[in-house]
C-alpha cells in the first residue's frame, strides 16, 4: 500500500504495456516514454520504482484496492478526480485521428461525423472525441486492443482510429503501422499520477509536484520528449 | 434356407468356431445344444454378422456372403433376412415394452403408429405383457424382459429367427406359452435356429438338433437320433446329466444329492 511504499521508499506503479513508444517490453525490461518520465520523477525524490504489469482491468482494480500506489499514463478527468488525488501533469496528451493510408476522404474531425471510429476501451480518447461531437454523430466502436483497430482501419472495416497523436505518429514512423494521421490534434488532457486520497499521499504528491517542476525547469522532460516524439509534449499546447 | 459353410472365428489367440457347416431348409426348426462356452452364441452372432467370421460362407434365402470379402450393403441385406433374440435380451433401454416391439416396424416398414401398435399389442398380449406395454425395461423382471425380446424379434417377421436361449429366464408356465407362440410361427413355415439348454424344449420344438462342443459340431440329427441314440462319446456324456436329471426321482431315496 502507499503507506508501506513510503516506509521502504519503493513505489509500486501499475502499467499495461500497450506498445511502443509509450511503454513496451524489450529484453524483459519496461521501456518507453512513460517509463523514462516516471523513473526520472521518482529518482529525483529518491524512490525506487517497482512496475506491476497487468492488463488494464487489473491496473484499475489494483489501484482501487491499494495493491499498487499509482498508475502511469492516466489522464486526469473530472470523474477520476472525484476518486483520486492527482499530481501536477507531467505531460499533455492530445488526440488525433488515424485513417488508412489510402484514405483520401477523411481530413479532419468533421469528416468522421456519421462514420465509425475505433477506440481502445478505457482510454480517455473517446471522451475527448465526444467533447468534439456535440450532436453525437460519430459512432464509436470499442475494442480491447489497438492492434486489432490498426487492421480494421487499414482494411476499411472501421473508418478511423482515435488515439494519442504523438504515439501514433511514432508508431507509423518507427514500426510501419499502415495508417496516416489526419487533421489537427485535439482534446488536450493532462496526464498525471493518481493516488488514493490519504494524508500521506498528499505529502507524497507535494514532493512529486516539486520534482515535476524541477525536471521541467532543467529540461529533463523536454529532452525525453524530444527523444521519443521529436516534439515537446510535456508542456501544454496552449502555452506553445 | 440357411446354409453355413466352413465358418471359422477366433478372438485373439483362442479359436472359438473351428469349422462350422450346416444347413437349414425352409421352415425347419434347428436346436443347437452344447456346453457353456462351446461357441453357440458366437455362431448365431456370426450368422448375422454381429461378429465378423474369419472365413466361410453364409447363405440365407437369396443372399450369399463370402465372409472374407463383404460389402456394407451385403451385410445389411444379410441382416434383413433374420431377426434375433439375445441371450441377454438387449432391449432398447430408452423405449417402453411396446415401443421395443413397434419401433422397428415404424422405422423399417414405415407402418404408422396405429398399425404398429396393433401388431405390438397383439404380440405383447401373446407373451402376457399387455399390462406392461408402457413400462421401460428397467422396471421389468428378467422373464418379462425376455418375453419382450421374443416379441420384438417376432414382430419384424423376417425369413428366419435366431433364438439365443429364449426361455432361460422363464418359468415352466411361460416356457410352455412361449413355445406355443414360437410354434405358431413355426407352423407358418418360419425357419428358426434356437440355442437352448433345455433339452426337453429342444426335443419338442426341433426338427433337427445340433450338438456343439468346443467350437465344433459334434453330432447332428433328428431329436430322436441325438437324444435317444447319440453316437458320439461326447454327446453321450453331455446328455448323461440330462438323462440323470430325468431319473432323479428314482435316485432320491439314496440321499439328497444322489444324482451327483
Amino acid at each position: 500500500t502507499s503507506g508501506t511504499a513510503e516506509d521502504d521508499n519503493v513505489i509500486k506503479i501499475g502499467a499495461t504495456p500497450d506498445g511502443y513508444p509509450q511503454y513496451y517490453y524489450e529484453n524483459n525490461e519496461l521501456e518507453g516514454f512513460s517509463v523514462d518520465m516516471i523513473e526520472a520523477i521518482f529518482a529525483e525524490i529518491g524512490y525506487e520504482v517497482e512496475w506491476v504489469v497487468t492488463d488494464w482491468t487489473g491496473v484499475l482494480a489494483s489501484l482501487e484496492t491499494g495493491k499498487i500506489d499509482t498508475v502511469a499514463n492516466f489522464a486526469q478527468t473530472p470523474e477520476r478526480e472525484e476518486k483520486y488525488s492527482f499530481t501536477e501533469a507531467y505531460y499533455y496528451s492530445r488526440a488525433a485521428l488515424g485513417v488508412a493510408k489510402d484514405n483520401d476522404t477523411i481530413h479532419s474531425l468533421e469528416d468522421v461525423k456519421g462514420k465509425q471510429v475505433g477506440n481502445v476501451t478505457g482510454s480517455n480518447y473517446q471522451n475527448v472525441l465526444k467533447e468534439n461531437d456535440p450532436n453525437d454523430e460519430i459512432e464509436i466502436i470499442n475494442y480491447e486492443t489497438a492492434d486489432v483497430i490498426h487492421q480494421d482501419v487499414a482494411s476499411g472495416k472501421v473508418d478511423a482510429f482515435v488515439t494519442g497523436r504523438e504515439i501514433l505518429l511514432a508508431q507509423i514512423k518507427d514500426k510501419g503501422i499502415p495508417l496516416q494521421v489526419v487533421g489537427e490534434a485535439f482534446g488536450e488532457k493532462l496526464v498525471s499520477l493518481p493516488f488514493a486520497k490519504t494524508e500521506e499521499n498528499e505529502a507524497l504528491i507535494a514532493e512529486i509536484n516539486e520534482a515535476v517542476e524541477t525536471l521541467r525547469a532543467d529540461g529533463t522532460f523536454q529532452d525525453l520528449s524530444m527523444e521519443w516524439f521529436d516534439e515537446d509534449v510535456t508542456i501544454s499546447q496552449d502555452e506553445q | 434356407m440357411i446354409k453355413i459353410s466352413n465358418i471359422k472365428k477366433s478372438f485373439n489367440k483362442s479359436v472359438v468356431l473351428k469349422d462350422i457347416s450346416f444347413h437349414v431348409t425352409d421352415g425347419e426348426v434347428v436346436a443347437i445344444i452344447g456346453p457353456s462356452g462351446s461357441g453357440k452364441s458366437t455362431l448365431l452372432r456370426c450368422i448375422n454378422f454381429l461378429e465378423k467370421p474369419d472365413s466361410g460362407k453364409i447363405e440365407i434365402g437369396d443372399v450369399t456372403v463370402d465372409t472374407t470379402k463383404t460389402t456394407k450393403s451385403e451385410i445389411q441385406k444379410l441382416r434383413m433376412q433374420t431377426s434375433m433374440v439375445f441371450q441377454h435380451y438387449n432391449l432398447f433401454k430408452n423405449k417402453t415394452a411396446l415401443e421395443n416391439v413397434t419401433h422397428s416396424l415404424r422405422v423399417t416398414k414405415k407402418l404408422n403408429k396405429k398399425q404398429a401398435d396393433e401388431i405390438g399389442r397383439n404380440l405383447l398380449d401373446q407373451v402376457g405383457l399387455l399390462s406392461k406395454a408402457d413400462s421401460y425395461p428397467i422396471s421389468l423382471s428378467g422373464g418379462q424382459q425376455q418375453r419382450v425380446g421374443i416379441a420384438r424379434a417376432l414382430a419384424v417377421g423376417p425369413n428366419a429367427i435366431l433364438f439365443d436361449e429364449p426361455t432361460s429366464s422363464l418359468d415352466p408356465e411361460w416356457v410352455g406359452e412361449v413355445l406355443r407362440v414360437i410354434s405358431g410361427i413355426a407352423n407358418k413355415e418360419k425357419t428358426m435356429i434356437i440355442v437352448t439348454h433345455e433339452m426337453k424344449f429342444a426335443r419338442e420344438v426341433a426338427d433337427k438338433v445340433i450338438f456343439m462342443d468346443d467350437g465344433l459340431i459334434v453330432e447332428q440329427g433328428t431329436p430322436e437320433a441325438v437324444f435317444d441314440n447319440p453316437q458320439n462319446e461326447r454327446t453321450k456324456k453331455f446328455l448323461r446329466n440330462y438323462q440323470k436329471h430325468s431319473s432323479v426321482e428314482m435316485d432320491k431315496e439314496n440321499g439328497k444329492f444322489a444324482l451327483l
Partner: protein, 225 residues
C-alpha cells in the same frame, strides 16, 4: 474500497441491453457446434478411414490453440486468402470461430457419450432390420445424449462467457459493456459484479431447462421406488 451497491443495481438495466448480443452469438454458435460435433464424434467412433485423420487434426487444432487466436485468424486471416470474405462482420466471424472451436470440444464429449451406450443396443437394432443411421437416430443417440448433456451444458456455459472474446474484434457484448462502464466511471467492481449477476441469472435459467430436460429423458433409466 467502498462498494457502491446502488451503482451496481443502477447499471443492470443498461447492461441487460447487451444480453441479446451475447445470447445470439452463444446460441447460434452452439447450434452449429452441436451439428458439427455430432458428425465428428460419429467419425471418431466409427473410425471412418481418411476422415478420421482429418477430424483428429481439426479437433487437435481447435482444442489446442486459444480461441482468441482462432478468432483473429478467421477475422483477419481468412479474408487474406479469400478476398470475398473481406466484408464478413465481426459478429459473423465470432460465430464462425466459436462454432468451430466448440465443435471440437463437443466432438470429444459426444464420442464419450456414444461409447457409453452398450454395444448390445446397436446390435439389437441391426438385427431387427434397422440401418446404422436408423439405429443411431432412434436408439443410440437418445441414450448417448443423456450421458453427454452435463458436459455439453458445461461447454455451453463456458461459451456463454467466452463469447466476450468477440470484443477483441469489436463486438460489444455483455462483459465488454461492463468493462466500458467500469473503465469510464472507475466503479469497477460494481460493474463487474453487475455483469456477473446477469450471467449468473442466465445460467440459472439455463440450468432449470437442463434439469428439466435431463429428468425428462432420464425417465426410462430411473428405477421407480
Amino acid at each position: 474500497m467502498n462498494f457502491d451497491f446502488g451503482y451496481m443495481i443502477e447499471i443492470i438495466p443498461e447492461l441487460i441491453k447487451y444480453v441479446p448480443v451475447t445470447l445470439y452469438i452463444t446460441i447460434v454458435s452452439m447450434l452449429f457446434a452441436i451439428i458439427i460435433g455430432i458428425f465428428l464424434a460419429l467419425i471418431l467412433v466409427n473410425r471412418v478411414p481418411i476422415l478420421l485423420q482429418l477430424s483428429k487434426v481439426y479437433i487437435s487444432f481447435f482444442r489446442g490453440t486459444p480461441p482468441l487466436v482462432q478468432l483473429l485468424i478467421i477475422y483477419f486471416g481468412l479474408p487474406q486468402l479469400v478476398p470475398a470474405l473481406n466484408s464478413i462482420t465481426a459478429a459473423t466471424a465470432a460465430i464462425i470461430a466459436f462454432s468451430l472451436n466448440v465443435s471440437a470440444y463437443l466432438a470429444e464429449i459426444f464420442r464419450a457419450g456414444l461409447d457409453s451406450v452398450d454395444k448390445g443396443q446397436a446390435e439389437a437394432a441391426l438385427t431387427v432390420g434397422m440401418t446404422y443411421p436408423q439405429a443411431l437416430r432412434g436408439i443410440i443417440l437418445p441414450q448417448a445424449a443423456r450421458n453427454a448433456i452435463p458436459a455439453t451444458g458445461n461447454t455451453f456455459l463456458g461459451l456463454l462467457k467466452n463469447s466476450s472474446l468477440a470484443f477483441t474484434i469489436g463486438v460489444t457484448e455483455l462483459l465488454a459493456q461492463g468493462k466500458l462502464l467500469a473503465t469510464a466511471t472507475l466503479n469497477f467492481f460494481e460493474a463487474y459484479l453487475a455483469v456477473a449477476l446477469i450471467y449468473w441469472g442466465l445460467t440459472i435459467i439455463y440450468s432449470w431447462l437442463q434439469t428439466w430436460y435431463e429428468n425428462h429423458i432420464s425417465k426410462p433409466y430411473v428405477r421407480e421406488t
